[in-house]
């Protein structure tokens, strides 16, 4: 049910069993899953049902590291959160992403892919992605197309599914939340502080503010931060009344390990379509649900090379763009060379290679608090996104390995943007609005903020949901995984909390 401002007057104290901070993909999933349970749930959201400038401005902050999006626009602060403008790309993390990897520092999660598998399937339904199927062989058979026959020691084909149109949690699950007897929703209320007991072992209450300067509090048996990869650490760091370094921050880890997916223009891939059809790698439909294959480094390659995960999507070029690119990069002479040397007999097709590369967990890449304050008096975010040499070199390594496979199999040739022109020395890397790792999961409190149940180390009743708990980022868009983790957390809360 929805609590109106009149239901929550200034100075009031609301009580629940579970208080969830943030009504985005993770928060709505949690609240929805706890419907019908014996637990009283309070879901508190900074914005309303519609976006508004004033609330959105609370997300503002300063980026001092690698060039990044304006923080104000990198998240949406209203019911449904950033699902209100996500693109629907979905894929589970690979099993290898959860493993400790030789040559990759701080790799490995305290849970395995099989721990998440049942929740992935459930998350698939929530994201309205259609049948839970990611096998390129089986999907290929369904559309009479084949994956490229890569050497499994080097490369593989993966599948990306699309929520289409992208499921906006705020619209899709609003009625579920409002109709739930045991779920209360409070809008236009921003949590500004977690008030812990003297030993900083338990959160006693949270403090929420509204733009009319009124405040109220919520007491609960358990609190879940589900406010996103920037706001979760912000809240923990800002809650420094008992401990100056903030909550859950005994080892100075909160806010560190900020990870993004490295989005890079990988270059141009030429394909001789008669020999190896790229059909699977273009947009296809399974029972009206879109999907496409993409090219990845194989798990064997990642393990043997200590490489970071990597996927490349073949992006169709329209005729004009194709013509411009072909002229610009000298693709016609290449086609001529391949034809005259008898390697092709047909016209080549050209695809841009959209690369998404994993970023290694890096403590220097971090979220801290600036001295500037927002309209509610809360210190703003200072984001210092940093990439390492390994992050850059991995992109080259991956593109080199794929170029070798394309040539070996006679698929085509790769023009790597990173080996040409100005990109050669400094590839232009963008993020994807994927905020991960800032409250990372680890079995050891010295290397992570939350444990395998997403509970903050050293605290009895504080949990974190969302991609901030990712130990590593893999090369899959994070939404499906964060929803799966929220489903898993909801089960944990149901099992451990006794009203």
């Amino acid at each position: 049910m929805l609590l109106s401002p009149a239901d929550v007057p200034a100075g009031s104290v609301l009580r629940s069993d579970v208080c969830i901070v943030g009504a985005g993909a993770a928060g709505i999933t949690l609240a929805r899953e706890l419907r019908g349970s014996a637990l009283r749930v309070l879901l508190i959201e900074s914005g309303g049902f519609e976006p508004d400038e004033q609330t959105q401005a609370l997300a503002d902050g300063r980026s001092v590291g690698k060039s990044y999006f304006a923080l104000r626009s990198s998240r949406l602060r209203y019911f449904g959160g950033t699902t209100n403008h996500w693109q629907g790309f979905s894929r589970p993390l690979d099993p290898v992403d959860f493993e400790p990897r030789k040559g990759m520092e701080r790799s490995g999660w305290p849970i395995s892919r099989s721990d998440l598998d049942p929740f992935y399937e459930q998350a698939h339904d929530l994201l309205q992605l259609g049948p839970y199927e990611y096998s390129p062989q089986r999907l290929g058979e369904a559309i009479k197309a084949s994956p490229f026959p890569f050497d499994p020691k080097r490369a593989s084909t993966i599948v990306i599914r699309f929520s289409s149109p992208p499921t906006h949690f705020g619209q899709a699950y609003r009625e579920d939340i409002l109709a739930a007897d045991n779920v209360q929703l409070v809008l236009h209320s921003t949590v500004v502080e977690l008030d812990a007991d003297e030993a900083a072992r338990n959160v006693r209450r949270i403090r929420a503010k509204r733009f009319d300067a009124s405040e109220f509090q919520v007491e609960a048996s358990a609190f879940v931060l589900a406010a996103g990869g920037l706001e979760n650490p912000r809240l923990l760091l800002a809650s420094n009344r008992v401990k100056p370094e903030g909550l859950g921050n005994d080892y100075d880890l909160v806010g560190r390990f900020f990870m993004e997916h490295q989005h890079v223009d990988g270059g141009v891939l030429t394909i001789a379509p008669g020999r190896h059809s790229p059909q699977l790698y273009e947009m296809n439909w399974l029972d009206s649900h879109p999907f496409r294959g993409a090219i990845a480094l194989s798990a064997a390659f990642l393990r043997s090379q200590g490489a970071l995960n990597f996927t490349a999507t073949l992006l169709d070029l329209d005729a004009a763009e194709s013509k411009r690119l072909v002229e610009e990069i000298g693709a016609r002479p290449l086609e001529d060379l391949l034809r005259r040397s008898g390697q092709i007999t047909e016209h080549l097709r050209f695809f841009e290679l959209g690369v998404m590369g994993e970023q290694e967990p890096n403590p220097a890449s971090r979220v801290t608090l600036s001295q500037d304050r927002d309209a509610l008096g809360m210190r703003k975010i200072r984001l210092d996104w940093q990439l390492t040499d390994k992050d850059h070199e991995n992109l080259r390594l991956a593109l080199g390995a794929l170029a070798g496979e394309f040539g070996r199999l006679g698929i085509g040739r790769l023009m790597s943007a990173m080996e040409r022109g100005p990109e050669k020395s400094a590839p232009k890397v963008n993020g994807g609005h994927h905020h991960m790792g800032t409250t990372r999961m680890s079995a050891d409190p010295r290397t992570g903020v939350v444990d395998s149940d997403c509970k903050v180390h050293g605290m009895g009743n504080l949990y974190v949901a969302g991609s901030s708990v990712f130990s590593t980022s893999g090369s899959a868009n994070p939404t499906l995984t964060l929803v799966a983790l929220a489903l898993r957390l909801s089960r944990h809360l149901k099992e451990t909390l006794r009203p």
Partner: protein, 145 residues
Amino acid sequence: MNEEPGLNRRRFMAAVSGGGLTLTGGLIAWRLWQPQLAARIRRVRLEKRLLHVLRERLVGSPGAERFGPMYLKLRPQDSSQRALLAPILESVITTDHEALSRSDEALAALVRNLIQQDFDAGRTVSLDGWRLSETEGRICALVTL
């Protein structure tokens, strides 16, 4: 001159047998050398055939004209016809002992096979961003020398 006939005969025999040995040695050497010579001749002929096959296909090619000079700039130590062709020739000879008797198209196929082997073994070069096989770079350079 008064020489003993026996001595003369011995000398004569020694001379004859020595000459025979020399002749035999020469024959043996000839026998041993002849296949090497034949192999060398075949190699030279194959080299010419390969050059002909590659040139016939690639002379005037915009691809060769674009990538050939780039390859030579990248690998100046390979800037002679012999140096460029040597690894290709070796591979063709190793792959097919009867390569010389093959058709032009069959020789071209052997080169294509080598290109795939290059990619498999990581023998690649980056020319203006394009990742090409060493052999592709070499054959472009060959026709632009």
